[in-house]
């Protein structure tokens, strides 16, 4: 039409005449406007583009949100962001639509005689404060708790920790990140003494080989996976997929290696065996920068109430470690793991080749593991033995699943044993916290209380009477769900849920608070590569919704902690962030000032002398290093630890009665429990419901066809799902896979609440089920 219009003489003349008339009029009467004509020519009216980190996963893509007349109308990737360089995934591009579901919660609801009654925000907050005070009076301070999230912004988590740990004096602060990256934390702490990856996403641009440990990156970290694919195309890097299920990632990888669930422990040790036996060890690196240790073995699975475990590390020498590895020759491990000795040797040779830069990437496969801490340690072992760490392209990289799992849960420390800096057990750390929080030091309890699973068990037992749940949906995500749902419904339990939509968790609430989401308020997230990113408030939240931060501040004030929560409404985010920064005022963890975060797409801590640190522990990049070329300053002796960790069986393995492994996980379209993404029509239509993936041979044997209803039974219960054969993924024989996003088909009804004794993170990837055609 454009060109036809000009080639058509009549249209051209008409248009010409109109424009000349307009020009003449403008000349004769300055200031005269032809609004329709002129506005029509401007595309989009005026869209104001504002930067934010994406709302969804832990990659932390920079997005530009288009705002028009007070509404978010478009999204594009921020080309200035070094994370995603302008590209997003389908969830990111449609993220703003999650704000406009017709059933947004807009008014506080309070349950009265079994029915929800609308209240004003003021009434609801007053009720929560009174209920908390009353519960503390009747049952003690450890009867109240808060359960937050890796989707909490930094200020949300900070005020929650300050109120509960500092003011009320209970360590009942946990977050759903316990279900998602606790093993990564304990892995870092035991190997390096300080949390979070040493490298950054730029490693992708330098690495020659990517080894993905049980990580379906093509669906779960799609933007980073595209960066991997770009590097393969531009530089010929290799992608090795090491997994228990054939996925989209496998189809894209250069090599896909399948192992039996839980045997990654054996394979990792076998890789180390090969490295040691072939003389690929970087002797100088080991000598100068590493120690060897072993911990307790046969450590259990935490399935019983009040289970407790404390590892006892013991120093060993290299020879003892070598002796230990002898049980893990590729030929022996082949029998345990189902991975051929040849494939093990192949993987070892990639790690062992001194001219190849290797990046290992993992997420839930390694973390949601009853030996999650161990497998994290073992991957670090491989990188430490070969010295392939803390330098561009050589990087063991633990990915996260939530936008601020690192920023809020790990850095602010919203876990029962943590403080914003350090742990509650340490007196110095308590003193520092008490000083910054302006509370008496005795307020901070030196004893950690309940980790997430145990917190819900305590709710069941009646030790916890009040729970405030923010930005998370435990009534979909808790393993062995039925027990914990029944617990929450028990008489004498009071549950407050802050959320943006009705979910199975709001169903059990006594008070529902409507929250402001993402760009409806101001805040910061911290992503997997230690990058803290700021977003301003761009649009108004609906109805009476307010931010989670402000909900907590208001309740704290009503409980009598006005002195500690004297923030001004207009500037509270800035005040809170500046207060929080005081905890990390050192070269190892300094956070960038707010002005810096406002002016650029985030900054990576430690932020020292106006610069982000890309590679920690490497003296060339990290100003906190004081000794030699590499300095693992997290440990008192400045040495990283190579751990002797054996292979041990899973908590529940298939047997004659329950012959299949059940693995659970996610899909690209939906984010976690789908309470946001299922309300985005594009995503819901692409992935409308959960399913059970079967191996085609298993299905054929049982006469199950695609779409047939299949009944999955475990020792916890049963569930019926449609079969999916040869679609999104293909489990190996003897295994099935079910995504957990669908609140209509809750797979966690039948999963097991076994967890890693060190990290207390449950294993959602392994339990035993039987399958029948329904």
């Amino acid at each position: 039409m454009i060109f036809n219009e000009l080639s058509n003489r009549r249209t051209f003349l008409r248009r010409m005449a109109k424009l000349s008339a307009m020009a003449a009029a403008t000349a004769m009467f300055p200031g005269i406007m032809f609004p329709n004509e002129q506005l029509a020519a401007i595309p989009n009216g005026s869209i104001d583009w504002k930067k934010a980190p994406c709302r969804f996963c832990g990659v932390g893509c920079g997005v530009l949100v288009g705002i028009q007349q007070g509404k978010a109308v478009a999204v594009k990737g921020d080309p200035k962001s070094s994370v995603n360089k302008g590209l997003c995934c389908v969830k990111g591009y449609h993220s703003i639509m999650a704000l406009y579901g017709a059933d947004r919660l807009t008014k506080p609801l309070v349950k009265e005689n079994g029915k929800y009654v609308e209240k004003t925000m003021d009434e609801a907050l007053q009720l929560i404060a009174e209920k908390m005070k009353e519960t503390i009076k009747d049952y003690g301070k450890d009867s109240v708790s808060i359960y937050g999230s890796g989707q909490w912004t930094i200020p949300d988590g900070y005020v929650a920790s300050k109120l509960f740990k500092g003011c009320i004096g209970t360590n009942n602060v946990e977050a759903n990140a316990r279900l998602c990256m606790a093993s990564a934390v304990t892995g870092f702490m035991s190997s390096f003494g300080i949390d979070e990856p040493m490298g950054c996403y730029e490693d992708i641009d330098h690495a020659n080989v990517f080894v993905l440990w049980g990580n379906n990156m093509a669906e779960m970290h799609p933007v980073l996976f595209s960066r991997l694919l770009d590097q393969r195309m531009n530089r010929g890097s290799k992608i090795v997929d090491f997994a228990t299920r054939t996925t989209r990632t496998s189809t894209a990888a250069d090599k896909s290696i399948m192992f039996k669930p839980q045997t990654d422990l054996a394979v990792a040790n076998s890789i180390c065996y090969e490295i040691v036996n072939n003389g690929w060890v970087n002797e100088r690196f080991i000598e100068n920068h590493c120690n060897f240790s072993k911990g307790l073995t046969n450590i259990g699975y935490g399935m019983e109430d009040k289970y407790s475990f404390q590892d006892k590390p013991e120093m060993i020498d290299f020879d003892t470690y070598k002796e230990f590895l002898k049980d893990y020759s590729p030929e022996k491990v082949e029998k345990i793991s189902g991975v051929s000795a040849r494939d093990i040797k192949y993987m070892a040779s990639l790690y062992g080749d001194p001219n190849v830069k290797v990046m290992s990437l993992w997420c839930m496969g390694a973390n949601q593991h009853t030996r999650g801490t161990w497998i994290n340690n073992l991957i670090y072992n491989i990188h430490l033995l070969t010295g392939k760490i803390s330098s561009p392209g050589n990087s063991p990289f633990s990915l996260t699943g939530q936008p601020s799992a690192c920023g809020t849960v790990r850095e602010v420390g919203t876990l029962t044993h943590k403080l914003p800096h350090g742990v509650v057990m340490n007196e110095e750390h308590r003193k520092e916290a008490a000083k910054i929080w302006d509370v008496p030091i005795n307020n901070i309890d030196p004893k950690p209380s309940y980790h997430t699973v145990e917190m819900f068990r305590a709710l069941d037992r009646g030790e916890i009477r009040f729970m405030w749940i923010q930005v998370t949906n435990p009534m979909v995500t808790m393993p062995k769900l039925k027990r914990y749902r029944d617990a929450a419904k028990k008489e004498g339990r009071f549950i407050v849920v802050s959320d943006i939509y009705p979910t199975p968790t709001t169903d059990i609430a006594d008070v529902i608070l409507p929250s402001a989401c993402w760009i409806e308020r101001e805040g910061m997230y911290g992503n997997s590569e230690r990058r803290t990113q700021y977003f301003e408030q761009m649009i108004e939240p609906p109805g009476q919704a307010i931010s989670d931060t402000w909900q907590i501040v208001e309740v704290a004030r009503r409980m009598g902690f006005g002195k500690q929560f004297a923030y001004k409404k207009e500037t509270h985010i800035e005040e809170i962030y500046n207060e929080y920064r005081r905890f990390h005022d050192n070269k190892k963890h300094n956070m960038a000032p707010l002005e810096v975060l406002k002016s650029q797409p985030g900054a990576m801590w430690p932020y020292v002398d106006g610069k982000s640190t890309k590679w920690r522990f490497n003296a060339a990049y990290d100003p906190a290093c004081t000794q030699g070329e590499f300095d693992f300053y997290g440990k008192p002796d400045h040495r990283a630890v190579i751990w002797q960790r054996p292979y041990e069986q899973a908590a529940e393995e298939p047997d004659a009665d329950y012959p299949f492994w059940l693995n659970t996980g996610r899909v690209i379209e939906h984010w976690h429990t789908g309470s946001m993404t299922r309300r985005i029509p594009v995503l819901h239509k692409a992935m409308p419901q959960a399913y059970v993936e079967l191996n085609p041979e298993d299905a054929m044997k049982m006469g199950i066809q695609n779409g047939d209803p299949v009944k999955l039974t475990s020792r916890r219960g049963d569930i019926i799902l449609p079969a999916s054969i040869n679609e999104r993924g293909m489990p190996v024989r003897g295994q099935v896979f079910v995504p957990f996003f669908d609140e209509g088909m809750l797979i966690n009804e039948i999963t097991l609440d076994a967890f890693c004794p060190i990290s207390k993170q449950p294993d959602y990837k392994k339990c035993a089920v039987k399958i029948t055609k329904a």
Partner: protein
């Protein structure tokens, strides 16, 4: 004298041997000087501009009807908002694939697809091979909950500064640097099909004028006062 000269020469050779060996030993201790291959694309904004130039003359010669089976309304209908990645309006056989080997068979160069009785649209960014990262299928009708989102709308066509002057490019160029993939060829909606595909240096005449981009710190010369 001669002897001194020879001794001197010998000494200097010894010194030279030492210095060279020490020097080479020192340099050997440094990391190997490996030239890093280029990470990524040079000038991303310009990459792919001439990507499809080899088709341009064919496009120019092809007789094309105004009805390409797809008009601009169809084009916008499978996007949540102007600029959003379109969903896949047809079924896909291979759910597990990232797309590289499948989608690109038809969408790299386009062409008539008898099954759908349509010309396959050409992807402007074939170098991004994880297609299903952004483009999802549409497997079911109906929604989980009603959504009231109202997205950004497309600009009016034919934005010209002057009558007859070349229209500006109203959309973002990221991943759409190659104009011909969407503005030429039989799959293109006729409303946005270029009349002169053989002129491949599009941005010679068509300025990028995405007025929706807010630019910080635009340079502006201070005005000056003229004394009357």
């Amino acid at each position: 004298m001669k002897r001194l000269f020879i001794i001197g020469l010998f000494l200097s050779m010894v010194v030279a041997v030492f210095t060279t060996s020490i020097f080479s030993y020192q340099t050997s201790k440094e990391g190997a000087n490996v030239v890093e291959q280029s990470n990524g694309i040079l000038l991303p904004q310009e990459a792919g501009v001439f990507e499809r130039f080899y088709s341009s003359t064919h496009y120019a010669e092809m007789p094309m009807s105004d009805d390409s089976g797809r008009n601009l309304d169809d084009y916008y209908a499978n996007r949540a908002y102007y600029g959003a990645p379109p969903y896949i309006p047809h079924e896909v056989v291979d759910e597990i694939s990232i797309g590289a080997d499948n989608c690109l068979k038809c969408h790299k160069n386009g062409g008539w697809v008898p099954k759908f009785e349509a010309y396959a649209p050409v992807v402007p960014h074939p170098e991004k091979t994880s297609c299903r990262q952004c483009h999802v299928t549409n497997k079911s009708e109906g929604v989980f909950k009603v959504n009231e989102f109202q997205g950004a709308r497309a600009p009016q066509l034919s934005i010209t500064a002057l009558p007859g002057s070349p229209p500006a490019i109203p959309h973002a160029l990221f991943m759409r640097e190659n104009c011909l993939s969407c503005h030429a060829g039989p799959s293109t909606p006729s409303e946005i099909r270029v009349s002169h595909p053989e002129r491949v240096n599009c941005r010679q005449c068509h300025a990028h004028n995405e007025t929706s981009v807010s630019i910080n710190n635009v340079f502006a010369r201070d005005g000056y006062q003229v004394d009357q």
